[in-house]
């Protein structure tokens, strides 16, 4: 399996993440993780390196092995093969105090009050119950749920319960936050709020790793990403480097439809309505522009568009995985 480990240069303005990723110690390091269920390889030799302070996405369609990978990283299950280290420890439970985890399938005790639920989750990570209650009230207030502090979980809406669980994940102020499909089930407003929370955590130097099947979340938030499909990770590295794998696309609109100038266009040019589309030539666009002008093509517009993460995903994981990813995202929105 080819794994690229390009420098994950920070893309945010804070001090820590501005340090080149390869100069930072690793929060998570996994080598050759393998996990089979009933003879089927759910995860097949995954390698991941996440520097401290990074926002890191694990991007892939449903069933690709994202959750299994996260569960192995957290020590919920042990892999059949391979090793993982969290802050240098191969037993994540040994540093449970430093980790916060939001599982994909949200779970809270329905009869518990919000404050108690958050404090209990903190207590599981070593936070004294009294301090946990105090912080829970503060967190609920800060996120506009102060009025629900003494309500039972069963009395909350799904979105509110999800927020409470997320606050429970953060109450003990972890240094690593692992979120499994955190955006699923949230409306656009709450997704926006969650994005802000993730950015705020990273600004405080917290490492955030989340799985998603929505490319936009990964593209907007992450400095590093692992693309996973069929249990394998064909790419792990910076988002920038992934996008750089695909040449920029040139979009050209001309007045003339035919002419000798057509021969000047690259061989893999596609006609898309009134536009021509082709990868940016290695020589740049200037020689081409000269030929088009000389050939009187009548240039109406010309734009160079950098490839997005979606294009990179298609190129790296294949069309089929990309289609499934889009279908999953559409299902999530529905």
């Amino acid at each position: 399996m080819a794994v690229s480990e390009q420098s994950l240069t920070g893309n945010r303005g804070d001090g820590f993440s501005a340090i080149p990723a390869d100069a930072r110690p690793l929060a998570i390091e996994a080598r050759g993780l393998v996990k089979s269920f009933d003879g089927t390889r759910a995860v097949d030799g995954v390698d991941i390196s996440v520097p401290e302070g990074a926002i890191y996405g694990i991007l892939g369609p449903n069933g690709a092995g994202k959750t299994t990978t996260l569960r192995m990283l957290l020590g919920i299950i042990d892999p059949d093969e391979g090793v993982r280290r969290v802050f240098g420890h191969d037993r994540p439970h040994d540093i449970g105090r430093l980790i916060g985890y939001l599982p994909e399938e949200r779970g809270l005790y329905p009869a518990m009050k919000c404050v108690e639920a958050i404090a209990f989750m903190g207590a599981l990570r070593g936070l004294p119950l009294k301090e946990g209650r105090k912080r829970a009230v503060e967190l609920l207030e800060r996120h506009g749920l102060g009025y629900a502090a003494d309500r039972q979980i069963r009395q909350l809406s799904k979105g509110m319960a999800q927020t409470v669980q997320l606050l429970g994940t953060l109450v003990h102020q972890p240094r690593l936050v692992v979120l499994d499909e955190p955006f699923s089930g949230l409306d656009a407003i709450n997704q926006g709020k969650l994005e802000l929370m993730i950015r705020a955590l990273a600004d405080e130097g917290v490492t955030v790793i989340f799985s998603t099947h929505v490319i936009h979340h990964a593209e907007r938030l992450c400095e590093g990403v692992a693309i996973i499909a069929g249990g394998k990770v064909p790419y792990a590295g910076s988002v920038e480097a992934a996008r750089d794998r695909i040449p920029a696309q040139v979009r050209l609109e001309t007045r003339a439809r035919e002419g000798a100038w057509l021969a000047a266009l690259p061989r893999d040019t596609r006609r898309n309505g009134d536009f021509f589309q082709f990868p940016l030539p290695e020589t740049g666009v200037e020689p081409l522009l000269r030929q088009l002008i000389e050939g009187e093509a009548g240039i109406l517009s010309l734009s160079i568009e950098r490839a997005g993460l979606h294009d990179a995903f298609v190129a790296i994981a294949g069309e089929a995985a990309a289609r499934q990813l889009e279908a999953d995202a559409a299902e999530g929105r529905a």
């Binding site: 690793l26 985890y101 005790y109 990570r125």
Partner: protein
Amino acid sequence: MSIDLTIRPRLSALEAAWVIARRDFVAVLFSRAFLFFLLGPLFPVIVGGLAGAIGGEVQREAVSVEIGLAMSEADNAAMIEAGKRLTPQLGGALPSLREVPEAKGDPAFDARAFMEARRGNYAAILTGTLASPQLVGTEGQVRRWQGPVGLLAGHATSAEPTTFPEVASAVVTTSAAAERSSRIQTAQVAQMLLFLLTMLLAGMVLSNLVEEKANKIIEILAAAIPMDAVFMGKLFAMLAVSFVGIGVWGLAAYGFWTVGSDAITAASGFDIARLPAPAVGWPLFLALGVIYFAMAYLLLGALFLTIGAMANTVREVQTLSMPVTMMQLMVFFLAAYTIKQPGSGLELAAIVFPLSSPFAMLARAAMEPSLWTHALALAWQGLAVLALVKGGAVLFRKRVMKSGGAGRAPRNGGRRGWFARRTSGTAEPAE
């Protein structure tokens, strides 16, 4: 920036278990289901108590406790006649009087031997004459009936007595053989009580993990703390809950006993005051009873927790209940069977087999005064609890969570889990 691990980076296994135990204990204790659970066994007791009280009231008016008469035929008749005369005024304060058939026409009748052989069903036997009666019985019974018997003897002598004869007493002392035989009774009662309590309470553990699995909380627990700490916490929470249950039932039973011990004795034929003292003495026996209950509960509970953890729904738990109940019965029968075979290989097997060990050892406490065997048995049972919890957690991780066996290297010279050193210092530098 590097991560500061000078703060304690994890909970110890016991601390983690405590977090789980505290949550579960409070959640169960304040649930409506627990209230019904508590009240459940009280309903038959209340109904039985009421029925017993009504029946006992009638009984108390008619007959209270029987004193056997083994005097001359004329004296016996006079005593019975006096009893009939005084009962309307004194009612339950007087014993019921009945001639001992075995003493009739037998001048050599030995009341003491008769009592020691535990023949008949008399509280005591009255011998001698009306002028100098003698009451033969256990110390408690003699003390209880000496006065009323003197009163009856006085009225049997004269319709309007001015003096009452002194009632001599002969306290029955049991022989070593009779003592052993009588202690079997205590052992049986104790075993039965232990069995009923574990049967009633340990079943709660079966469905214990279903809630976590149904609510998807198990993932959060498993991510935060080791699975054996989850198991241990749940087990001890349910043990604490069961102590609350026993406390409530014990108080209720004490209340009923205080209010209507005569009626209960009359209705059930069981008098706890007449239960022979256990070999280790009552205080120690009661303490051992509590400890062995805890051990029986933890052992059975650990097994149930593992079995129950494999179930996904309450229905599956219900299906599992039957074989589990059968197993409980078999364990009890094994221990009960060995009561009358002290020192036999079978008794040793019942003591060694962890699940029957608390039952067999409690019976032993009733019969044998030595204490070192209890220390040994408790250590053994404690080890078995740890092994079962550890095994259950491993099984849960393998079968339910489908965990593999790689991902980490041995540390601390191979010591892991409960015996491992707590991680204390800074993280190893990441490569």
